[in-house]
């Protein structure tokens, strides 16, 4: 199995493989996101309690899901980077972190905007919003550490250790924040956890979730390709890739 994986530890092979994936991932992402959001916005029936404001769910829930999924992915990359010393995995940390941070921001922003018509405030210390805010800080920490060092390799390894420390802490932070929230808010209705959703709402939500999965994958692929090129810029193959494209104007 490792023999099969080994070529992808080298930059060029991974770059080409990701290049083959990128158009498919982008097309799937565009298709599923457009269908999911369009269906959710215009064709799904309004919620009997929240009216049309619930339509934010079609972007909020997928973003929240993959903001956490991306952190897990980053931690797995960090583990591979530290244990097997594979450089592509180190670069994957730098590729995943900004994508995860933007998804976290999206989840945070949509949650806050949704809170305004529901609770009457732009910011409510709701358990999910609070833990998304903390997740954003964790992402920023990893990114800041990654780029803080003059030596890129040291920065990547330090960020990898931090990502692993973070992933141990994320469940604890979640549990503590939810517990804290139940302590202070008593019996507020959680608008995000719907016990049962009618199929007409669930279908576009699932399509949107699939769309965000492809979107996350496509964004990470794009950034990982950039990161590989950046690190291998002195190699002839990378210059060839960029030089050819520079003449055509990207």
């Amino acid at each position: 199995m490792w023999k099969w994986l080994h070529p992808y530890a080298k930059g060029e092979a991974t770059y080409r493989l990701l290049g083959a994936w990128l158009p498919w991932l982008s097309a799937l992402a565009a298709l599923f996101v457009a269908v999911g959001l369009g269906w959710g916005l215009f064709y799904a029936p309004p919620d009997y309690q929240q009216g049309d404001s619930y339509r934010i769910i079609f972007i909020h829930v997928p973003a929240a899901m993959f903001s956490m999924g991306a952190y897990t992915g980053m931690a797995i990359a960090a583990l591979i980077a530290l244990v097997w010393q594979i450089r592509t995995a180190e670069w994957a940390i730098a590729a995943i972190a900004p994508v995860g941070a933007v998804l976290t921001f999206v989840a945070l922003f949509t949650g806050a905007v949704w809170g305004k018509p529901m609770w009457g405030t732009w910011w409510e210390w709701d358990a999910r919003l609070t833990s998304e805010l903390i997740l954003l800080f964790l992402y920023i920490g990893v990114l800041a550490l990654y780029y803080a060092f003059n030596d890129a390799r040291t920065g990547a390894k330090a960020a990898a250790i931090l990502a692993l420390v973070g992933v141990v802490n994320v469940p604890i932070i979640h549990f503590s924040v939810y517990w804290w929230n139940s302590l202070h808010q008593g019996a507020t209705i959680t608008k995000f956890e719907k016990p049962s959703m009618p199929v007409e709402m669930l279908t576009p939500l699932l399509i949107s979730i699939a769309g965000f999965l492809f979107l996350t994958a496509a964004l990470v692929t794009q950034r990982l390709r950039n990161e590989i090129l950046k690190q291998e810029l002195h190699r002839p193959w990378a210059q060839q890739q960029l030089g050819v494209e520079a003449e055509h104007g990207v």
Partner: protein, 227 residues
Amino acid sequence: MNKASTWQFLRTIMQRDLAVALRRRSDIINPLLFVVIVVTLFPLAVGPGPDILGRIATGVIWVAALLSALLGSERLFRDDFLDGSLEQLVLLPAPLPVLALGKISVHWLLNGLPLVILAPLCALLLKLPIDAWGILMLTLLIGTPMLSAMTAVGAALTVSLGRGGALLSLLLLPLFIPLLIFAAAAVESTLVGTSAYGQVLLLAGLMLLTLTLAPLAVAAAIRVSVN
């Protein structure tokens, strides 16, 4: 033979750290003064009424403790890194996580324990009801070893950076949140007259987890920083 020598290394390093730190007493005293001053600022900012002070006392003392833990943490490995003894530590024929745990213990002894002893003074200044003093000190006693262990991770990660101060707080403060929540909740539930048993047990569990895993992370971070 090997086991005995690990203990010897550990003892020597802890004794050395203690001696060095005791020679620089201001590093121990200044964070404590910081806590007292922060605690003093709050009544001036929000008014000296006991109703509001008593409510925020736990939070203020704990946040001040978190911030003071960050203050001196940059120096935890900095001097050892600059004079090369951190490299020697890596090369010792003893498991690095054990040595890291030794350094964390010394740090706690000099920075965490005094904070626990100082807590009643802060509680007095903030008019925390006297029934809650014991539980406040207990949460600090359980929580400060976690603070020392986590700051050691952050300090080891940023040791080779010239100025890691602001970055260090960005990395560490989000990780302190569970500690803050459970510690504050323990004191809170004592104040309202219910048992804080559950929260204290959770804190103790977190402390054991942190003290088990943090030395491994510190060791890995030192290896990365030294190379």
